[in-house]
Symmetry: C2
Subunit: 376 residues, 2 copies
Amino acid sequence: MVISKESHSPIYKDEIPTPALLLDLDVFERNLDKMADFLNQKRGDFRPHAKTHKCPTIAKKQLERGAKGICVAKLSEAEVMIAAGIEEILITSEIVSKPKIGQFIALTQKCPSLLVAVDHPQAVRDFMEAAESTNVKLNVVIDIDGGNHRAGCLPGRPVVDLADLIARSNWLKLRGIQCYAGHVAHTVGFEARKKSSQEALERALESKALIEKYGCPIEIVTGGSTGSYNIDSEIQGFTELQAGSYIFMDLDYRRIGSDHDKLFLDFEFALTVVTTVISRSHSNLATVDGGYKAFATDKPFTPELKNITGVNFRWAGDEHGILELKEPSQEIKLGDRLEFLTPHCDPTVNLYDRLYAVRADRVEDIWPIAARGKSQ
Amino acid sequence: MVISKESHSPIYKDEIPTPALLLDLDVFERNLDKMADFLNQKRGDFRPHAKTHKCPTIAKKQLERGAKGICVAKLSEAEVMIAAGIEEILITSEIVSKPKIGQFIALTQKCPSLLVAVDHPQAVRDFMEAAESTNVKLNVVIDIDGGNHRAGCLPGRPVVDLADLIARSNWLKLRGIQCYAGHVAHTVGFEARKKSSQEALERALESKALIEKYGCPIEIVTGGSTGSYNIDSEIQGFTELQAGSYIFMDLDYRRIGSDHDKLFLDFEFALTVVTTVISRSHSNLATVDGGYKAFATDKPFTPELKNITGVNFRWAGDEHGILELKEPSQEIKLGDRLEFLTPHCDPTVNLYDRLYAVRADRVEDIWPIAARGKSQ
């Protein structure tokens, strides 16, 4: 690796050892600005999901542009973000074990506005007991099942009972409700997605009305995604958007379509994985140094070359990908550095320790993905 | 997380924060011993592939049991293993960029027996030039395409030309040939796998004979996998086995079948991912805190509960899995800790920073996965 004598870091994009995660700063900043401006116009709050980037540097850029706070998926991600000085944080996944509830309390002592999603009376009672015994007031949102049955309380009686249990405690403060329907984010076709998102949020808003009827005001209604950013923000009563992927974009989002195009191109591809051609023994094949350990593989399609057409990527194990050279729009030689759009950005980012922030051919900065691997 | 006051580490298995990677030490040691004993009887050399575990602690246990060295897939993995004091290392993937060739030379200065696979005259010339200019002698093996066209030189004329190029250099020492046919390892059915592996190694042994005919002795013929351990070791002229997964086992290997059973159970499941049930709002569903970031997803099947039947695991995003409770052999409650067999061990291990080494209900040790993420 060619390194600068001062910083021991690559100066030019072409010096970065592959495979590596690249962020095109010009594009990334346009994505950041576009979403911030959009929500500002709609007068909607923004709480971007940091599970996408796991990077405090990026979280701070989102906050600088007006985000009211951030979401994280896990307690251990919250720990990293709080250590980096970030204060307004919602943990969007349920926490149920007593040791983790203890950790949540310790984090609340550092960061009193910390929020967590709850969906079950047993966990709520454990939170209440732990809060009382440590004398720390805790903030929660009730998670509502948006219809995909992944997590969340069922609307109707169960949600009212849960709100009632929380309201009777002096130690828990019910700040709002969360409704994230994972199936909505990637529904293909704008109208189908709109219908699906409206149905999910309807469940949340009915629950809000029910809880408020019993005398408990609901300040926050949080949820949504990059795929529903311009749907949810139109819904009366919805208060904050949790979109994450808009900063990077990926192939899975591109295919969902927008309100004016078959492809969803409202945000641009800022993230790529750069690889090197390390084997070139066949006229119609080239092998790159990135496989299952360089790209997330949870989607039924493969990485796509950024600037070259006529080439298919085929998985070839942990460390390799094979390029089938159908009608390549440029020659592909041994040693070539090739950039790929990723099928799914979040779990791809989770494979890397750092993000190379690039402007044109220069490495402007290297950002630690400080919460990489923090899935606890 | 309940921690011991001295070590800040969990003492009991049930205190480990989830999701986490567990290693059942009793089973792991049986796997280590079984392969060591088998190859000892066959008088075959063993160079286990450390891309599976990325853990110097485990590499040392393999060396203590008679392995002649280890394989790694990447230069950055070799760096970690050399820093941990391991000396006999083969880098099984091609290196082609000049900066990485420079790093290889720096590592060879620390570890003079370091080996790397080469498959192309252009790269060989770059190695020769760099070796001469730094006055460092380098060791290489020629990688032969075993038939899956992922990497490797074509048998026949190309391999002889490459051997000749190497032989004419004073700076490169040709130590042997490598033939790893990825498609063989997971061929289902013992007889089909045997045929497939024999065909691949035949290409390698023909190449060996050709090179030796031109006056260049070939000391090492390296390759093979867990799936072909008792096939390749029977082949005259094959000198060392590169098996990796045998220490952990995974669902992908179980399905390939053995010489006496429809399932391949020659080695036992030592590796699991432990998760917690964090949502339980539906009678027939339970949600655990492990998804795409807790398990590798490159196989067309999902994780499987270790000790419970009648339950299907369904992917539910980056952080969650949904359990469909068909006819569960035991009750599944909120907060339950559940262990899963993994679809594919290598890329799953690459998601974690540490391996909890467990004996019965106790955490005996925590081993850093020091080369986690070292895909460069």
